[in-house]
Symmetry: none
Subunit: 416 residues, 2 copies
Amino acid sequence: MHNCEIICVGTELLLGDILNTNVRFLSKELAAMGIAVLHQSVIGDNSERLANEVRTALSRSDIVITSGGLGPTPDDLTKEICCEVMGFELTVDKKVLNNIESYFRSKGISMAASNKKQAYIPAGGTVFRNDNGTAPGAAMEKDGKCLILLPGPPRELEPMFIEQAKPFLKKYSSGSIISHTVRTMGIGESALAEMVGDLLGNKNPTVAPYAKDGEVLLRITAAAVDEKSAHELCKPMIEQIRARLSSYVYGIDTDSIEQRVVELLSEKGKKIALAESCTGGYIAKRITDIPGSSSVFDCGIVSYANQTKVDILGVSPDTLEISGAVSKQTAAEMAQGARRAGNADIGIGVTGIAGPGNDSSNKPAGLIYIALADKDKTFVDKLITGRSFDREYNRYVASSYALNMARLYLEGFLGG
Amino acid sequence: MHNCEIICVGTELLLGDILNTNVRFLSKELAAMGIAVLHQSVIGDNSERLANEVRTALSRSDIVITSGGLGPTPDDLTKEICCEVMGFELTVDKKVLNNIESYFRSKGISMAASNKKQAYIPAGGTVFRNDNGTAPGAAMEKDGKCLILLPGPPRELEPMFIEQAKPFLKKYSSGSIISHTVRTMGIGESALAEMVGDLLGNKNPTVAPYAKDGEVLLRITAAAVDEKSAHELCKPMIEQIRARLSSYVYGIDTDSIEQRVVELLSEKGKKIALAESCTGGYIAKRITDIPGSSSVFDCGIVSYANQTKVDILGVSPDTLEISGAVSKQTAAEMAQGARRAGNADIGIGVTGIAGPGNDSSNKPAGLIYIALADKDKTFVDKLITGRSFDREYNRYVASSYALNMARLYLEGFLGG
């Protein structure tokens, strides 16, 4: 398997002014081609450091890809440095020069003299034309090493890679690396790792847990001669994990819990209604993120005030007086009220303290009650996030928990 | 000036599964402290490559910061490798162990044995406690070099850096680079650039426009011997920009338009209520993201279905029949209905087509009506986003537009 290294050139990356989306794009593409990316690095517009980085990269990797530093200004140095390191001459390419001139003509502006610098290409290399800008890319091969130069702007780099660099790299491709993701909720990373502990040392596919706010993902990655075989390798592993983790698994390669809930509601022809206090519309927002959610969701009430809970949801003033707004009983009545107000099959009610810090009651921030009501029964769960000062986390995790409760109900795991 | 190198550890970064937001966050913070980041790199969970990278980094940089690889699983190696390279022993820290145990207790789950690994810290180093997870961070100093270990999840890394690593690094800081952001809405990037065109070439502070979904930011950046002097350099520039852009400016260094709206409502002692159709709870979610929003926001209705618009908001069935759900008149009645249902001073109503693609009516996705009602008047605006296939963009921009309408009203710019 060939290995590859990506060097992104740009002071704006070192200053943290922009996110490095190029490296993610290239890494994902290369992984799918079966080319292993073992190093990524970022370097500024400095000739000495850049030359060192390129030399080091070529000493340990078969393929080196750079992005950025191909522009017309004097601090764009990548092409010059890379040619020096690889021992290639730079010569003017008439065709590239014509392309640059006609690019400017098409935009109705005249070409600056500095743009002529971009028409110089490595003699004996391969040129990648730039359909979305003026800097061409290039590839150089020598002594079993391959160096590829790509422009920095994503809208130039991405099509140039897909249409020209990727076909060029095909000969270095060795099979495919494919990843699948098993998504779970309701179990912590360590507890999950213990349930599948013996699988975490597996070689092909590999299995790696990865915790994200309120959920744990298991990434199954296989390498094989082609995509199909890589998928085949993943399959039995996914089935084994799914069997062990049972109801904790909410989806395989699913985008999100809300995606799964909308799918389940559609399949079963059921509608959901919401009554949100501490999540303040977050669950409604997440459900309506999904195209087509209008067929399963009619009505959500954000009842931040007690009066709204009474007026619109029909929560009893006695309940609010005796149990308080943040209580099991209030959550239950909110879920029932949402179901009624929205003429839905299922109602969800969420009430809690989002933080940061505690409120005037003696209840801690991060304490949240979540209820689900159907026509016969009401289920209520209590969630303690343990992060009293993290409002965003508490609200996100509470909304996830509520969505997962709906998922468990629709899959027949609740109160079974 | 001290220089610094950032090493992010994680196979998921090499595979392009996630965007590297940590490196951007750290680079930005370090630049503001006057610490020069000259290299960024990413390495997988591989002990040999990681050890080589750390050794190289320490040979050329004063400060090396790692992120990731501090978890409880066997492939989390960063701490072990870094201690080996720096020549520090690992010892169990009782306090850290207690913290981890109580973290699990607070969540009502028992600690897995593997989590004990996280209680080992470099003997003679400085420990950074983790308020948002179980892996502590650490700093080691030896022979004029400083190595800092931070956890991978941004939610853990960011507060740990700000509260503990940043004060620790203060002694390496030299001079300051300070940025301020003028935030505008209601004007495009090119039009704005023309209004402040002569300022964009300024040297210190620099002024750079930066377009973000539905708004344009101007970043003013000054370099000086200390923070105070850098702020002083920015001040007159900010005032000049504010004077020119007038009502387009909604805040200086404000986090968001929702932050500004909640501030204005609080100042003026007014309450807002919402009726959301295409934004589906997004506005409610954004308002309730702000701590303290409960004093200005009681009630939001997500009326995805026509029946909900009639039943809860009192929109006239005739209006829906004649003008349609996506119309100026429906938006107006929704705003009025929200105001009534929520007993509020101001009601907001939003109805439109979020996409992707057009719905069964002949109206295009990205067409959205936004209304604001007070006790006397109702204002309605029509927004055409022009991106029919971008549901998230349409919903976000519509919610921003509605929030900006509330801001303009509260500042006296609407219907003045």
